[in-house]
Symmetry: C2
Subunit: 576 residues, 2 copies
């Protein structure tokens, strides 16, 4: 599915949207809506009287560009060490000395219409960036994201630097120049940006203690020294992982509802938030939420992977309250039955990419229907209504399961025989072995990450810290967690490279099953000598006696997910 051919809808003879990419009308996306209809007030946007269609068309072109550039970014990042060196010798001016997208004397000049004519493999695939025109046809076959790159064909990729800040890396831009074929007609350079509203203009305020990984979309983690301070992570410092701008739902408008497609149309539901709160008994669950990519930075030390550079703080523990999904699905005609045991439940968020494809994902129906599965449609987090950053007004809470499944700004649920066809379900949040890279991966061979393996972290001290002993002992604190509700039964710590192991004290109550929450631990270890570097290892064991692999080397995977090896840090133990 990841190699499905997607075509720029403004290229002749194209299908505008595939069902799987954009099921919902444009107006369902606040991002698109803002841009195409101007229905949300924003004093600083500069919409004028162009039709919504025209505006959405423009955005869609830029959107496709973003997808293209995301691919370029991944490709370039991966190839920087080799391609850059190669290019430096062969064609230094072409890739290094020139300002990316600047006018280059002597190259042919093309209009934006010329660029638009090159929108598929038979015509060649061109894109523009500032004054530059690029033929990226040779890149298509090696694009990690498959044919999706064709969505960007024939247009400018430029507006997307405002959406995907992650692309604004000198290396990425410089290497794009390798595909440079010409200059854009003078005066057309800024066409793509004209009338462009910043979809990130209406983001919520965030706590400054969060460690920001990307601003647009916003991704930030909690400092791990704060994580261990309390069993419940305060909402304001809880890690945030977004793929797109944050939807802004105004409940008073009456526009928000949750659509539930059950067994058949007769059983389908349409619930507003009040109905959800009153028709179904509220249920509270204390559960840790962790990003599949937490601790990726440790894996990147083996070899770079593709993804946000998370430290150890893309995890938090909260009390979630909402309606049991099981209860909702029962009223939608779903039964406890062996017949549907291989079915799935799909979730769509209000957040969507520029093609209007919502962030969408699925989980096995058995998890949703399990009376002990504790899947809820949460409207509260830590005793308060959800914040916008955590999915207001409604998010799915799938305890024991990776954060990617906990869809925020939930607007649609569908029970189906198949998994979600979304990019996020099919072509992301999966893991492969270290010898599988983007050029040869077949995403269909791996299952979507649902339950996560056991992990543990030393939060205090932090890597590289200078520490003083207390009563000749080194004080350590951290957390451990495992997926599937498997409780942490032991945390082992070693300060002599595994020659001896100390059992840490578990600070939070643990059940052997349905243990959705994390478990914090502490250990006070005798240290014989000071003034030298000490390496600290921690690993946890869960109630199925799963434990962590020793190192990241053999866990390495191109996407940098499931970085669950022993956490190893070095500290300098100082004289008291």
């Amino acid at each position: 599915m990841c190699s499905q051919v997607l075509i720029n809808p403004f290229c002749k003879g194209c299908v505008i949207f595939s069902k799987s990419l954009a099921r919902r009308p444009l107006a369902n996306s606040s991002w698109i809506r803002t841009l195409s209809h101007g229905t949300q007030s924003s004093n600083n946007h500069d919409f004028h009287d162009k039709s919504g269609y025209e505006n959405s068309k423009r955005l869609m072109i830029t959107g496709f560009g973003a997808i293209t550039l995301a691919g370029l970014y991944y490709y370039f990042k991966k190839n920087i060490p080799t391609v850059w060196a190669h290019e430096s010798k062969e064609n230094e001016v072409n890739t290094v000395a020139r300002e990316p997208g600047s006018f280059v004397e002597g190259l042919p000049v093309y209009s934006s219409d010329d660029v638009a004519k090159h929108c598929n493999e038979s015509t060649g695939v061109w894109i523009s960036y500032k004054s530059g025109v690029y033929d990226i046809t040779p890149f298509i076959k090696i694009h990690p994201g498959g044919n999706k790159i064709l969505l960007g064909a024939g247009g400018s990729v430029e507006p997307f630097w405002s959406l995907y800040a992650i692309h604004q890396q000198p290396g990425t831009l410089a290497l794009m120049e390798k595909y440079r074929i010409g200059n854009l007609t003078k005066g057309e350079e800024h066409l793509a940006m004209a009338n462009m509203h910043d979809p990130y203009a209406n983001e919520p305020r965030r706590h400054p203690v969060l460690v920001v990984k990307t601003k647009k979309p916003f991704n930030a983690e909690t400092p791990s020294s704060l994580l261990v301070e309390s069993f419940i992570t305060p909402t304001d410092i809880f890690y945030v992982r977004h793929h797109f701008p944050v939807p802004d739902v105004d409940l008073s408008s009456g526009n928000y509802s949750l659509e539930v497609i059950g067994l058949d149309e007769k059983h389908s539901l349409n619930l507003n938030l009040d109905q959800l709160k009153t028709a179904y008994a509220p249920h509270s669950v204390t559960a840790a939420l962790q990003c599949s990519g937490n601790r990726r930075s440790e894996m990147n030390r083996v070899k770079p992977t593709k993804g946000l550079e998370w430290g150890q703080g893309a995890i938090g523990n909260a009390v979630w309250k909402g309606a049991r999904l099981r209860d909702v699905l029962l009223t939608a005609g779903i039964k406890d039955s062996d017949e549907n045991e291989n079915w799935h439940v799909q979730f769509d968020g209000l957040d969507a990419d520029p093609t209007n494809a919502p962030y969408a994902i699925s989980i096995p129906l058995t998890k949703a229907m399990d009376p002990r599965g504790d899947v809820i449609l949460a409207y509260e987090m830590n005793g308060e209504p959800l914040t916008r950053d955590h999915g207001f007004p409604l998010r799915v809470v799938v305890p024991g399961t990776t954060g990617a499944r906990w869809v925020k700004w939930l607007t649609r649920i569908e029970v189906s025989k198949n998994e979600s066809e979304s990019h996020w379900q099919q072509c992301d949040y999966k893991s492969f072995n270290p010898s599988t890279d983007w050029d040869k991966v077949d995403f269909s061979t791996a299952p979507a990450i649902q339950e996560m393996p056991v992990t543990s972290v030393v939060c205090e001290p932090h890597d590289g810290e200078k520490v003083k002993l207390k009563k000749d002992k080194l004080n350590l604190r951290g957390f451990a967690w495992s997926g599937g509700g498997r409780g942490i039964v032991r945390v082992d710590v070693s300060i002599d490279l595994g020659k001896t192991w100390h059992v840490a004290e578990l600070l939070d109550p643990v059940k052997l099953s349905k243990q959705w929450a994390w478990t914090r631990w502490q250990a006070n270890l005798p240290v014989q000598t000071t003034g030298q570097e000490t390496e600290i290892w921690v690993r946890a064991v869960d109630s199925s006696y799963n434990t962590q692999p020793e190192g990241m080397e053999h866990l390495w995977n191109m996407r940098g997910v499931l970085a669950v090896a022993y956490h190893k840090i070095k500290v300098l133990v100082e004289e008291n």
Copy 2:
């Protein structure tokens, strides 16, 4: 609970049986029954007209001796390297040159009555072996099995060599001489063996291909090259793991029944096999059964552990058919309820130790009641009635869970708020970190092993084999399995110490959940050079993306369970 004081019932003022050790009347144990009442025909036993009580008394004395000696065996095995060396210098004659249990000139002479008077810590704890009398008081505190050793106080341990062949090791016997204090009155040396019937005289015949680890009790594994030949392991070559002699149930006698203690006495059931077959719908489950100690021999290479020296063959995959335990418990008044979610289901087998304590174990009630848990009371294995070696007429099948929970010769089920108090539940089948040894272990700190972690094995070729390439490729075959119904989603193989990994082909269908069966795999790997040793690594990934730790070193535990590191073998690749 493991330090519970147990006292030889023939020592003055002792409690004869603790509830937890021997709930059932003596006659329920075929072993005791054979010896005490002679109810089973055996032409070669030499019972005479002594009362059943006297016979059972004798057996119990010897039984306690066995427990003592089991402890001695563990202790000595652990300490052989150090104690032996120490003794060799200090007192070589005492421990090495003398035939264990032989008459020693110059030592005091004690009668068996004298020995019997020393049966607790205040009197000192003596035992006899052949002509030797031993004061093992100093050994009590360091006995790995805790105070259980006191059960053997005041009697001869000798008869138990015929029951526990594992003790017949020169090192164990020689080191026992360290505790030698005297000689037994002449003529009393063979008293303990007089009239002794061999409880292993009535064992079933076994297939000669089984690799025998101990004969009495019988423990044997399947050669791993045979394991991989078929998805279903034939019953006759399926591994066997016994703790005691094999019960011989004669259904025609009408004596066999299954007692089910449910919510209260009103709901208790007593079912014969026909009732179980007719009152409950039969349900078939294909599930792998694996011993907690499978692959222990690999862990022993790090440092010796205590247990049977299993290779990789203490696992098999079979079709089991029987009544759903859930259905039985529902008729015994157990309900689906949050109230009982921390309860347990205890199982007693007809096999029992010499104190008449049955092999007993428990599992969480939630597993038993889970409609998707597939726990059955099986009366068929691979389409035939269970064989005696596999629990005829009834065994519990707990898919996804370690073999220790699959109680054979099932005779009693009890739902309770607590786990089984048996030795097997409380003080065995648990794991600790490598720095926890017998002298400081607290068994209550670890949960009983239930679900098992993911494992994988190379079955072909075997370690040390000389192999020829086929079309320049090295052909590998093996199996992988994970507990909790987590399907195997990937098997990785490396022949260059993990620098590159090849994805193996999975030969059997896999589900992501309820995958109780194992998954066989094969890989054909290109090998560049022949004539040299090649190391092969295999590791598996399950549907929760758990994978195996790299090595046994940090997995090591004193009991040698859960040896689930990468399987690593070396082969010599020969010129074609």
